[in-house]
Subunit: 357 residues, 2 copies
């Protein structure tokens, strides 16, 4: 039997752990894995595009465990009451090839993305960050808010979304959370939200080359956490922001980000730094207080690998039912797969009937 | 909720339908899909190799439905009581990106492989085929036997495996099935099994460049159904068999077979025919009674796509419980993913505690 963590179980595990602690633990797992970057067998994700969206598979392995995530991106889904992004994934043992965990990853992707964003900001943002602009107030926004409040000490959130109902929803959810010391401001435009912010997080869904952030909005010393631009033809930053002489761009995995990230707008020799290089001390995440640092996040398979391993450990140790599913056969004789259907009397009765038909 | 067909449900569906009829229906589905070959977005599978095996992802889409299969190949698994090959897969809607079916595919892969083998043989083997050599008597062998008995009219099966226990198991299972008119012969060697056979099916598991069939075994007019050679470094035929002037090689998907099939042994310009070309009438599967036809089968994503769609239809129409799993969230407001964990009182209680810790 394969362990199974569906929506109900992940909800239970997150609630038991606490959302902020869950994000913090994920950030630690992800950091530990990025520190052994060379051990991973990496490849850009496999994407199939249609006129309305994309479906992607994201495999990775460290030689001991293997994982993949299935994830879609369909910006127009919300108009029919469906999520823009849904995901699930599997953790497997490399030595046997057997899957050991199947998990929902829709909720988990939002949690791990917030963890990755906060982790990168810890290495890239200025030391004392108090205010963050949050542009795009949809499905991922609460997770980003909690992550940055808990891990970066953000105490002022400046919200903007083209859809006012999304901002209202985010305000309501944040109010219910009562995050200590957090002030939430609703802004009338992206420019107003960004003005004076230490960190700017963009988590918008539109699949086009958008310019959510334009050059005149950007102030020296800002850290930009650009989350929403994550597939070919889907960007959030005006290219001139990347071209600033004082800009520093960090990506997760260069080969994938050149295709999918904000840097898809730039020539192939545009300088980027891989996050693992920063952790390894071979590059810096920020050289001085006035640099504009940009985490050009697209989401990499390693983050899901870390999240699946963490979920699996929690699933096995936490309270509540440890659900499993019969995804893989269990046989007395592994060469006798047929026993699953051939042993039944029905199977030996039906064949002559069919053959004479 | 996502439909779920695990081992128990697939066993129930196959038993209700009858194994031979199930294989026949799969062959029809697969043929129909190969006839619209141009409509599919195809790519070679994504493989991650380790010293002991391989884990692969096999995605495909026709623009309306998307599917992928996860499959491993670990020849040494049987020594620890595990299967060489396990698999599962998902069917999804391209328009929304939502998964609609998660299914076991270990049993189903054996069934669809037998269906594909029999389908190819119908277009490639001589008209009156009575005897088949079956080399490799492991997990897939019963399915091949049933498929060829039912769809090709095979009435003599000549068995050989390096592991005598595997042959004993196959004999026992075939005896229990009482396939009408079928004579089963146990042979002392591959050469003895192959001698005089109309069709030779090889389904061996060893991951190396093996020469299960050597040139002197091959007789004019034979059809070779080479199933086991299906990844880089894993072949079953001596290259000189492919080099015979009277040999005709048909593959599923040229781009993948050049990497994984028997033809990985041959230069890049070695002539192969894609099976879809045969169905479309642009190529022939056999030119005359004396040609040696070779179906260099590696298994292509389209076959799993057909199988998943068929399983989904059966699952929704057949008797028995229509199991579902909570793999994807259902939300009143799709932009309010956080409601899944944030609405609970526990979530608003825990955060202040964590923040003050």
């Amino acid at each position: 039997m394969v362990d199974y963590t569906g929506i109900e179980r992940v909800r239970e595990l997150v609630t038991q752990t606490g959302t902020a602690s869950f994000i913090e633990a994920l950030a630690e797992e992800i950091e530990a894995d990025f520190r052994r970057w060379q051990e991973f067998d990496k490849s850009p994700r496999h994407a199939m595009h249609s006129p309305v969206g994309v479906i992607e598979l994201m495999p990775i392995s460290d030689g001991r465990l293997y994982s993949f995530k299935y994830v879609n991106g369909h910006p127009k889904n919300t108009s029919q009451g469906l999520l823009t992004v849904t995901a699930f994934g599997v953790l497997a043992e490399v030595d046997t090839g057997y899957p050991i965990l199947l998990s929902e990853l829709t909720l988990t992707t939002a949690l791990r993305t917030a963890a990755m964003s906060a982790l990168a900001a810890r290495w890239m943002a200025r030391r004392e960050c108090r205010s963050m602009a949050l542009i795009g107030n949809g499905a991922q926004s609460e997770f980003q808010a909690i992550g940055f409040h808990h891990l970066l000490g953000i105490r002022e959130l400046r919200l903007y979304d083209v859809d006012p109902a999304a901002t209202t929803k985010l305000e309501r959810n944040l109010a219910a959370l009562r995050l200590p010391g957090l002030r939430v401001l609703r802004c009338a435009s992206t420019a107003e939200a960004v003005r004076g912010a230490d960190i700017v997080t963009t988590v918008t869904a539109d699949k086009r080359n958008a310019t959510i952030l334009t050059p005149e909005m950007i102030e020296p010393g800002m850290h930009l956490n650009a989350v929403g631009g994550d597939c070919p033809g889907k960007t959030e930053l005006h290219a001139d922001i990347l071209r600033r002489p004082d800009a520093r761009v960090v990506v997760e995995y260069e080969q994938q980000s050149r295709i999918e990230g904000e840097v898809q707008q730039m020539p192939a020799d545009f300088p980027v730094i891989e996050f693992a290089e920063v952790l390894a001390g071979r590059a810096t995440g920020r050289a001085d207080e006035r640099e504009v640092t940009i985490f050009d996040s697209v989401g990499f398979a390693l983050e899901d690998f870390s999240a699946l391993r963490y979920l699996h450990r929690l699933h096995r140790s936490a309270r509540g039912a440890r659900t499993t599913i019969d995804l893989v056969p269990e046989l007395e004789n592994p060469k006798d797969l047929f026993t699953l259907i051939g042993g039944a009397p029905a199977a030996s009765r039906e064949l002559p009937r069919r053959a004479s038909a």
